[in-house]
Amino acid sequence: MSFIELQNVYKIYKNGVTAVADMNLKINKGDFVFVIGHTACGKSTLIKMLYREEKPTKGSVYVGGINVAKLKNSKVYKLRRKIGIVFQDYKLLPKLTAYENVAFVLQSYGYKESEIKPKVIEALSRVGLKEKLRSFPDEMSGGEQQRVCIARAIVNKPKVLVCDEPTGNLDPDTSKEIMNVLSNINKEMGTTIIMATHDRDIVNRMKKRVVVIKNGVLAGDYEKGSYKVDEAH
């Protein structure tokens, strides 16, 4: 079994919308995968099923050998400690500094302050924010806030990083910087990265595996950027 594996996965929301239909997908450890497709095609739904924010209506979702679909609610937190999540809107706490926003995670796990500090500094250094430890979110640019979000996602050294349009709110240059950060994390830490995006330039330039979704169905799977944007649009 692959590190991440979807088997005949369906997601039908309560309102009757079928967001994902009969999806089969395998992702190996250390891969970097783009998930692309039109708006409302089901990218976010797919990502959310990986960290059990949504439960598949049918089928199995394996992450690191565990069927996430069958995970009890009370055990979900254990899964989330192994998956880093990066959001389009960063989801930082406005009253905490960059350092505190990242440290907060490990504090809530009950780590010692002396264990937390080096881990937080390391994570923030990796995203290039070593100089901004004491800045509050509203004192940082969008790109910087996204880096804090990434630092928070990797501080516990997860095996997987899932990103839902992490560059959705950023200009092209800042987006490039964020992609460099993610690429480095993938290379240096061996973290598997799954990223949903709309950004054609990024997908074409990065030359990574591309998974195309159309109306909730897997419509294409291309190795090393052999995908042409026009094929999906």
Binding site: Y51, E53, N73, S74, V76, Y77, K78, L79, R80, R81, K82, I83, I85, K91, L93, F104, V105, Q107, S108, Y109, G110, Y111, K112, R152, A153, N156
Partner: protein
């Protein structure tokens, strides 16, 4: 130690939350204060009523004077008849001679007069001294006995004491009902405060869930917050109890209206009640927050 660190962080987070939502916290605490003062009043009252009813119960007797012309056989029958009347704890018979002896011992003037009585001349009536089980129905018991054959006069207790006991009993019952109702109102108010705290921290809670904070760590601060509100709310009632009861006790000279009714000594009584108040406050606070955490923090 991981659990201890989690505990310390939860406590400090709960404390900050109490301060952050100050006006709500004060509303909840005020309600707890009123409830606990009433609880204290109810406990003080029932403990004292129980205490002096026990005191009086030992003393309160029904005295049954037997007709002068009753024979020994009649008296034997009467005793059997009294025996089957409900609410009787103990019957003691006193013959004319025993009465005379006792009265002579008790009082010198009596002794002087009675010693002049001739042999066989004794105008006193024999009597039964009866102890009852339940002081509140002593009147009923006395009436039943009064209707028995060969009974002349029935006397019992001091009506005032009896009435006092039943008045206190009513006050006690009303207070208990009020306390129960207030406990629910307080629990509701606390759960409402916690609900608002939960909403005001929804962002933080959502993020905690996403980054893998355990459910217990998410819930604990809210439970502690309820606990804090309960304990903070018990401070004033504890002071009121200690100073209030000591002052009342001293002012009344340790008795209530009459020497028959003695009040319970303030120490350690007030400390026991204070302990009970803190525990009740804590439980009500925890219960209120537990309700909200269950309802609004479904995980």
């Amino acid at each position: 130690m991981k659990p201890i660190r989690i505990l310390i962080r939860s406590v400090s987070s709960a404390f900050k939350s109490v301060v952050r939502n100050l006006s709500l916290s004060i509303a909840s605490i005020s309600c707890i204060i009123i409830t606990l003062i009433l609880v204290a009043f109810a406990i003080l009252l029932s403990a004292n009523v129980n205490n002096f009813t026990k005191d009086i119960e030992g003393d309160l007797t029904v005295v049954v004077f037997v007709n002068k012309d009753a024979t020994d056989e009649n008296i034997e029958d009467l005793k059997k008849n009294i025996d089957v009347v409900p609410n009787i704890k103990e019957i003691t018979y006193k013959s004319k001679d025993q009465m005379k002896e006792e009265m002579q011992k008790e009082n010198e003037a009596f002794d002087k007069i009675m010693s002049e009585w001739k042999e066989g001349e004794n105008p006193l009536q024999p009597c039964f001294i009866i102890l009852v089980n339940d002081i509140e129905s002593i009147g009923e018991t006395a009436n039943t006995i009064k209707n028995l054959e060969h009974v002349d006069i029935v006397k019992y207790g001091e009506g005032m004491v009896e009435r006092l006991v039943s008045i206190f009993d009513i006050v006690k019952k009303v207070t208990i009902v009020a306390v129960v109702a207030l406990v629910f109102v307080t629990a509701f108010l606390i759960s409402n405060t916690i609900k608002i705290t939960i909403y005001s921290r929804k962002n933080e809670i959502d993020i905690m869930r996403l980054v893998g904070t355990s459910n217990m760590v998410i819930k604990l601060p809210f439970l502690f917050e309820g606990l804090f509100l309960g304990i903070l709310g018990s401070i004033i009632p504890v002071l009121v109890t200690i100073y209030g009861y000591v002052f009342f006790y001293d002012k009344m000279g340790g008795v209530l209206f009459t020497d028959i009714i003695s009040l319970i000594e303030p120490y350690n009584f007030v400390f026991q009640i204070s302990g009970a108040l803190v525990i009740i406050g804590a439980i009500v606070g925890m219960y209120g927050s537990y309700k909200s955490v269950r309802k609004y923090l479904k995980i």
